[in-house]
Symmetry: D2
Subunit: 324 residues, 4 copies
């Protein structure tokens, strides 16, 4: 499915993997400040924050999967199948379709704090973008350099969780994901100590044994634990190259290799793309399953005052550098 993570060194980084068995045709899309956003249940928004992120553009509308705005707020939607539940539009609420949710937050809010205010009035509606694009069952992560939250619209209503780990995957609901971390509290990046029995001379016969018990499969709860362990113990330099490099290593710990997750009929879920956005600078980095090299788009190099989407098709195919 997918994994999202945040990371902070000198700058603040926000990114995710998109794991799926096919691609809708996504590209990096910059929405400049004067692109007219037509929300279903609100007036046209003519002027707003600029946004950069990965989107499938349908009829000149950016269906963002993950994005960051020029103020450093990031947001991503991840599969939440079987748990997500949306409602009909209601009076007195801000009625927002799920496909509008990411831009609706990012074009208006500079911080998580501001997003929280919007969320207090929010009703996520069951409107689909069009007939061919059914409503995706999602939950969302919103983060700035100070805090991270998770939004889940479930049967009981809308839930907003503080996210102290800065990671989101898929099912089960976030509260349960967070809770299960308690089961792994003894795991450590350090060499294990013998607590089994003082009378036995047990020993570490390999480096890395302190984390024995960390799950290695590709299911959503296992990816959650592994990504949190990797992220919370991550060590890197502060420079842009070192930070971005480490970010891709963190998400690399939950990458889905083709063949390891069969979804039927000889189809396999893979990590279609991995993104890492420097939320402070507006630089969007990505890799794809078939192109390990990091490619980047710098929002600030474009005219952010425009009214037309600026689109960058993904660089496809392994970019191998021949050294001789």
């Amino acid at each position: 499915m997918c994994t999202a993570a945040v990371y902070k060194t000198k700058d603040f980084y926000f990114g995710r993997t998109l794991d799926y068995d096919f691609s809708y045709g996504e590209e990096v899309v910059i929405t400049p400040r004067s692109y007219a956003f037509h929300f279903r249940n609100a007036e046209v928004m003519e002027r707003h924050y600029a946004v950069i992120g990965m989107a499938h553009v349908e009829g000149d509308y950016p269906l963002y999967y993950d994005a960051v705005n020029e103020r450093g707020l990031g947001m991503a939607g991840l599969n939440f199948v079987g748990n997500a539940q949306y409602r009909k539009a209601v009076q007195g609420k801000d009625n927002v379709a799920t496909f509008e949710f990411i831009p609706w937050i990012l074009v208006q809010c500079a911080t998580v704090r501001e997003a929280r205010e919007r969320l207090a009035r929010l009703n996520l509606t069951e409107d689909s973008f069009n007939r061919d694009l059914p409503v995706a069952q999602l939950h969302w992560i919103i983060a700035d350099r100070e805090e991270t939250i998770v939004i889940e619209a479930v049967k009981e209503g809308m839930k907003i969780y503080d996210n102290p780990v800065g990671v989101l995957t898929n099912n089960p609901p976030f509260g349960q994901q967070l809770f299960q971390l308690n089961n792994y509290m003894q795991l450590s990046p350090k060499e294990p100590r013998n607590h089994f029995s003082e009378k036995l001379s047990l020993r570490s016969y390999s480096r890395g044994m302190g984390a024995l018990g960390l799950p290695g499969d590709l299911s959503s709860p296992s990816r959650f634990v592994r990504a949190v362990f990797t992220k919370m113990n991550s060590v890197s330099g502060n420079s842009e190259a070192e930070s971005v490099s480490q970010f891709f290593h963190i998400l690399g710990s939950v990458e889905q290799q083709r063949g390891c997750c069969e979804v039927g009929d000889g189809k396999y879920e893979i990590t279609v793309y991995t993104s890492c956005c420097n939320a402070d600078k507006g630089i969007y980095y990505y890799t794809t399953y078939e192109n390990r090299q990091i490619t980047a788009i710098d929002m600030q190099k474009e005219d952010l005052e425009g009214n037309q989407l600026i689109k960058f098709p993904l660089v496809q195919g392994e970019q191998i550098k021949m050294q001789n």
Copy 2:
């Protein structure tokens, strides 16, 4: 520590990760056919197969970590600390120092079958290269497109294992590594079935749950199971780009992220480099921890008749492609 793997599509691929907390300064080194190999306990070998691989060159001598020869035979040495045991030189045996072992096999043998014949007369000696480079405790994987073997010199003598999985990590001895796979036989890339109780309606709530139980830590036995699972279930196209891409994904499943394996004093083991050699074509691909882009050196573009080592310093630093 390290993980080695083989992979076969149209061509045969051989590679490894080198996981360590520092680097001795390795580079890609081609040993051409007329480089005079001075073995400690044998005559100078003036003429032999050409070899390409990763090596630390000390005093014009290529201390190979992993390499492939022009006939498609690959070999790599991986840490085997606490179990490796070498002997003094003995009459009537081919006495070979461990640092000579990789070139000694690769310059003379075209296949694993030929290597087996050499191994029958082999005595691995405890000679060190020089005072400053103590003898490394290693075991080795040797592979061609037909078969893979593992060589371990232990207290009981030298053991040669058939390796049906084409993966090697570190401790414990290979026989035990292979045996423990039985414990994971129920794991699958497919969706799990309910065998717990027919009376309960258990369900898969996330893709990937068929492999729940796969270990996710960085210890040697856990990396072994994970790499084997990933490799045996791997699905990819046959082209060079697709094969190489998939190979790096396979080894990516056991990559060591900085921070997750502390070895004391704020030092961390990381995947210093990952290699993938097309053994049929003699093209050596590599990535480093700080450079995700694949860099390649094609042996066939060099003069393989020479007598001087041809060295390629590793391209360091993240090679980010700016798209705007």
Copy 3:
């Protein structure tokens, strides 16, 4: 902590372990039909169903841990520390203190269906029995031969869960316990099959490997999974002796051995007692940590019309039968 289970052969059985580091001094107590029950927030109940179970009697009041009434309804309270939350008495509700809850249900209800009706009007209050006995944080299992439910009073209010597995342990809340069973759906009492890779000849080298992955520690979620697996796959004859024997084997799978669960200061949690009540016949069987032999008390042998508690101190000490 504790584990409760139900089991059905020809008759219906209900029982539990009580795991703790000390005992309050419990005994088997029969409350006959005319014992006057003084509930805090209700009128005296002069006439009601007779009840048999394990209780600590304080001031002639039976503080039941688990009990069954003469109609075949069973109920037990198990620790639920950190999650249980009770309220002040409120108008318009049946206000029942937690220490009254078991008798309040069992003296009035013949079935779970009837208990559900009572529960609809219930408010569990934070009243303590007296100063020396603080309010225990508990959740409850109620069962008859048709159905089993779990009652949890938590921050969000009172929750009533259908319990399809007939097992209850402690934290986390029951919904989460039930959900985590999905993670174990591949486990089986049968021999495992190789789904890891068709290309490898993996094999079962020991009986019982189909359930590899079943947790073996004494924590509450692990006991839950293990008890459910054992109970759902349990096979036994229908006779009273065979049924009771098998019931003790089921709870034996989660027994706490002295030394395996240290709770500080050289104190250890052990399975103080294990009970199994034939709910149809009103026979209460028990064993204690130091007395493996099953001891039984048959409710029907007593005068159930009385107004005084009938108490049976537990038979203590290993009852070893010398055969010569």
Copy 4:
């Protein structure tokens, strides 16, 4: 299959479970000092140590499963299917059939030290007792209050292991069993500490979480780890009753419940019997699957000078004590 264990308080205790899907009809058998032992490849032994243990008696010959002699030496044979390998009788060795092995050691040796001397000259032969009783594939545990050893006759020859844990189960070979304990060194009977990340406030939400990761299934390696954990951390009083009680609790941790280990055709492996012998006093205690009460036979109450086997059929059926 089976689990054997030793335990020392004031006295020394030796016992085992026998796990199987049927019973050959075993009973407690005392071999007195003048019973004439006819060994296949040795002279008749007219006079020897007396022995008590569980045996199937066939043609007046005690086929011991486990036994203890009057000097306090205990020995048991456990299944070792697929690994055991016996040989033809050879000149210059003490040739002993596997069914003779337990009495051969116990009637002659007072200590493990003496047993080691015998073992140095031993050749375990492939002779069967008779046509109807094929040679069982076994390995053995021998123990006195000072030390415990394991004997395995495998392809490479006979191996004698020191056994620092005092536990034996079945496959794989003992060296591997012992080695795998290193994988569990972080497990503890104490409350776990948070080593996952200092930045997270993880917590123990249930007692017993320090041993999360302990395997709970009935396979041989899992029973080994669980029995060792339970035994090494066991806490009990020194009295006979407390010691014996605790011993049965230790082996209770690996008991096999009917239904949890299907061996085909609706047959299930169960713990047929559990034994515990006070090796110092010669008192043999046992329970059976259908009789939880401990039954005991005291060797010293019999005439140990006799020449006829003294047999005690097992007390079968649940011995329930009615308290009213």
